[in-house]
């Protein structure tokens, strides 16, 4: 029997792309939540945290409806950008970004809030603007939180199942990621392949976390929730 590595490769791609996207979105978004107060801030925080408690199938179901070309969001994307998010890899990325949002935002926000206010103010009194202060002073001092955000997002995306299945379906080579492949193989009583996928996922997840914990201990003396 030939073992198909494609789902593993797809999972890896999905996790990397999602993590990069979330890092780009997460830094400004978490700065906003950590440093500014605005109306409906609690609403924004609640929405961001929803994926923590919501069954993935519920989120996946709504995203499926929203992304469908028959509905406004889907239609808009299709007509203006020629992007179709249902049953496609970009759709998986979009779903994963939303689903893993709290795993990036929460560590970043906590890290940012832990930076003494004086660092920011000192940088301002030295004539430096907000952006320079963020990149030169604040972010370098929350490296453990950034690493935590990256690791949790990555690992969480690798382990995702419900959202991916709902939005992506199970199209080999396009949307069939490793977690779905396990389910698929078990369903067709192909336990041998299911074992291979499972053990690889297990080991990858374990070693990512192990690496992160030992890094944090060695270099930063703080960081991951323990």
């Amino acid at each position: 029997m030939i073992f198909d590595y494609q789902p593993l490769w797809l999972s890896l791609q999905l996790a990397i792309i999602t993590t990069i996207f979330l890092l780009i979105i997460g830094i400004p978004l978490s700065s906003l939540l950590a440093f500014r107060s605005f109306r409906f801030k609690s609403v924004a925080e609640a929405v961001i945290s929803l994926p923590l408690v919501l069954p993935p199938t519920v989120l996946g179901f709504y995203l499926l409806i929203a992304f469908s070309p028959n509905n406004f969001v889907g239609e808009f994307l299709q007509n203006h950008f020629d992007i179709r998010l249902v049953f496609s890899f970009p759709g998986l990325v979009a779903g994963s970004v939303i689903y893993s949002l709290p795993f990036m935002i929460h560590p970043l926000q906590a890290g940012l809030q832990g930076v003494p206010k004086e660092y920011k103010e000192a940088s301002y009194t030295l004539g430096k603007g907000r952006v320079k202060t963020l990149f030169k002073v604040i972010l370098p001092n929350i490296k453990p939180s950034i690493l935590t955000g990256i690791v949790l997002t990555f690992a969480h995306t690798i382990g995702e199942f419900g959202v991916v299945l709902m939005i992506g379906g199970n199209i080999p080579g396009k949307t069939k990621v490793a977690s779905i492949a396990v389910y698929d193989e078990v369903e067709s009583l192909n336990y041998h392949a299911a074992h291979i996928y499972s053990i690889i996922l297990l080991l990858v997840s374990f070693f990512i976390l192990l690496l992160a914990y030992s890094w944090n201990k060695r270099f930063f003396k703080a960081g991951l929730p323990s």
Binding site: P116, Y119, E121, Y124, T125, V137, N141
Partner: protein, 291 residues
Amino acid sequence: MIDISIRKRLHIAEGIDVLSVDAHIREKEFVVVSGKSGAGKTSLLRIIAGLMKPEKGTITVNREVWLDTENKINLPVQKREIGFVFQEGALFPNMTVLENLEYAAGKQHDHSFLIRLLQMAGMDSFASRRPETLSGGQRQRVSIIRALARKPALLLLDEPFAAIDAEMRNHLRLELQQFHQECELTTILVTHDMGDIFSLAQRVMVIDKGKISREGSPEEIFGDIKTDRRVPLRGEVLKIQRTGVVYIAEILTGQHILKLVVGEDEQAAMPPGSEVLICPGAFDPVITVLT
């Protein structure tokens, strides 16, 4: 030359108070702003720096308008040419001592000036050390020279020596005095430490409940302190006990507790916690309550 006239509502422990200050500071003057904690002295400093905005007021520095609420002018903190020294130093932990200075001085800086600052502070051999490996006094030294790296005309310090032991504090005061003169600075220092006031201030402004209550040279302000041949001791009243017709005040000076006899009127003026100056004499020590 600095002209300040500001009004700002402050939320303090006892409710809301209004910080209302009109002051005039000459060029190259060393002004100490003193007063109890919560009186509004740090707020005043932050308003001058641009870290806090008052409801009403004007700040003019060397004929340049930094703040004019009537005309909606509020120069952002980055554009105000100041050096600000925070109580805890606020050195950036991700940078070495030299990197902290370089960050402050900006891209096109004069490297030899930074080296000179390091030498003046006696920190040149620590240039590549990270702040966390320095002692409290060393950190505050670096913090002062970092504030000077941009060559500001105005140096603002917020209780910079509060967390530093007495011996080191004396060194740092001398160094600050030296920087004040050599860099031709106008300096405003916020403190409630009598040592800071007497060794540094050309002029003291005492802020009480948001207003300048007294202003003048340290001797003028705390002038009733006898400056005769007796050596004054600074202390804090710990407790006062009545013994028969007299009162015994326990006063902590340095590591020692002095028990002194005080009269009824005297003891009423110095509840536990007040700072006092004791001029010891053979029979009757003179105790002066400081505010």
